[in-house]
Subunit: 273 residues, 3 copies
């Protein structure tokens, strides 16, 4: 199934509109290309509606949000909803400031999201109103382990039920759930947390996957999450003694570029609960 999801991205080359932060935007653009889609970044309120019109899917990421771009997110998101385009939300750092929390809740209220992807602290903040996040990273108190995996799956399913979105919680184990079914994905490498924006990159790539597979949102999201994690494994395997997090960043994107759908099928590690 993951193989087919990935084949569709490569085959359809969807055009993805990204309203995203200026920290990781270049990596987001390059990974969208690497997976087989085309990115366009545009965040001015006077053009986002036009851009959404010509694109196939939308990725909204609230890192480095500001009053100007928040308005653009709302305009683009509503237009994408009208057009029936998939919309992904990455609530970066929600909980870290009142502005981020209020903006994320407003976006959830006014836009129907296809996928919501965040770390456990971000999703807890949105779903239950509090968490132990540390800036843009998940808090230690929140981290997913085998001990609390069932609780996290329940949280994801309940939040998916509430929002109608597929919910992706990424961490040492990744959970991708709709209200009925959850993938527990065991790809990835802990060094991925040493690179800024692997989450942002995954959200952008997820937008590409769900846009290419609109009738299989859960599977397409799980395929994107698995592909990202598997790329982290492949990239780690390339690391020389002198390589650090900057080279690792390049290697992850390279790994997506070189990954075939068949590779993903072989490399994916998950169970369904």
């Amino acid at each position: 199934m993951f193989q087919k999801m990935f084949e569709n991205v490569r085959g359809k080359n969807p055009l993805i509109h990204n309203i995203t932060n200026y920290v990781t935007v270049n990596d987001c653009a390059n990974i969208v290309i690497a997976c087989g889609a085309s990115p366009i970044m545009a965040d001015d309120k006077d053009e986002v509606e036009d851009i959404t019109n010509i694109c196939d899917g939308l990725n909204i990421n609230i890192g480095t949000l500001n009053s100007r771009t928040i308005e653009s997110m709302l305009i683009a998101g509503k237009r994408a909803n009208e057009l029936g385009h998939p919309v992904v939300l990455d609530p970066v750092g929600v909980g870290a400031s009142k502005l981020r929390t209020e903006t994320a809740l407003r976006l959830l209220n006014e836009i129907k999201f296809t996928v919501i992807r965040g770390n456990i602290s971000e999703i807890k903040t949105l779903a239950v109103g509090s968490a132990t996040n540390k800036g843009v990273d998940a808090g230690i108190g929140d981290r997913i382990s085998e001990d609390n995996l069932d609780d996290a799956i329940c949280l994801a399913k309940a939040f998916a039920e509430k929002t109608g979105a597929v919910v992706a919680i990424t961490g040492s184990v990744d959970i991708v759930a709709d209200s009925q079914k959850a993938y527990c994905i065991r790809n990835g490498h802990q060094m991925m947390s040493s690179v800024t924006g692997t989450g942002c990159q995954l959200s952008a790539m997820t937008a590409a996957f769900v846009t290419a597979n609109p009738d299989h949102v859960l599977d397409a999201t799980a395929a994107a999450v698995s592909a990202m994690g598997y790329a982290g494994e492949i990239a780690y395997g390339r690391m020389s003694k002198q390589d650090g997090n900057s080279s690792y960043r390049n290697y992850i994107i390279d790994a997506i570029y070189n990954m075939t759908p068949e590779d993903l099928k072989k490399g994916a590690k998950y169970e369904v609960r």
Copy 2:
């Protein structure tokens, strides 16, 4: 001739003011350094006039434009015109939104550009009002091949005639033309389209080349275009099996850094029409 153009960049180390998008800005800065010039990025309306005053050339790129930066582009462009500094326009994604199209046309109307560089869809949009562009990429219906090369050269010469600028259309074959003469440049590698911002990088580098060679704008632009393409070839030659578009991005900039003017002379592939 290309050798001399490049030598002048390395010898004069011009300071280039860039008003550019936040997606590819870091790569633009690094490639400007790599070719022998110095970059400064500044986009606030309250400082762009001062910055243009101390710089030797200006590069205006409308990717991720917004109301704040559009005003700055106009101020800086007019000031550069007053000072007689070369000004390059990169009309990223023109045609993709009304804002981009109107902004690009307004810039063309109010500023005299030395060079206009875009893909075929962008140049067609500016020159004849319509094209088949796909977001920030050229549309398939527009792509330059041997079959339509003469038409594209005519378009470039006519648009150069109309604007007084040298027109650079980059694609599988690159065209650099003034109203009388066109270079058809056959450097480059198709993988360059897998890296976000190779066009932006080229525009920034072109600003450096024409600033260092103000009396040879056509040749200097052609030299920059050829250098970028040749760097794409060299970079491709370095690719290992596991390298992808992220490493390729680094290798292109590295290739410009290591390219000597004599290398460019030997590697340049072009004819004049």
Copy 3:
């Protein structure tokens, strides 16, 4: 001493709020992670106070400043002062425009900085009102050599006395001074000036070092400066014939990632004056 400073960064993992430019922001985030701290980038006036509240230190960098972010810098800086958090100022390109000069002076007037880090032209502009800077780079007329090193040390100590901040002037020899004591640091490689933003990266890393060592600001700043220079040496040692400034950028961050506090102790080259 440097070893202990670095150990504290790795041991405490401070959370650093960065209000910085969009040119080098990704590299700043990755080097903050590489040295053992965590970055968060946020620049909207409606959230910077919240973000400063949850962070441990603040880094203000005026590259690509604008009216929106200048206000945010002032709000965040004042809040950090109230909280007793270390605040670093990187006055990028001060002197290149009236806006940058006035903003830097206003920041110095309204915020108490823990560290001020710039090149010699930037520090001269702030300390004595004029310099020969070239855009964001130090002017040739200003550059530090053995001949004018004593003068530069005097300047640094006097400016430190005036501001109450530790002053770091980076160049071919780096000076880190308070009013009484100056480190002359002889790490680094001249190729570092071929990468955009090595200064920005150092300022972000310095914020991490002083935040982890609030009672040893002079030593912590010197340790960060020495670590950055040493990383530049290690990175240069990795360069293959085809590597250029883009690979070098990655290698510098990689070198910080792999550097142990003990490595820094062994690699640091400095004298105290």
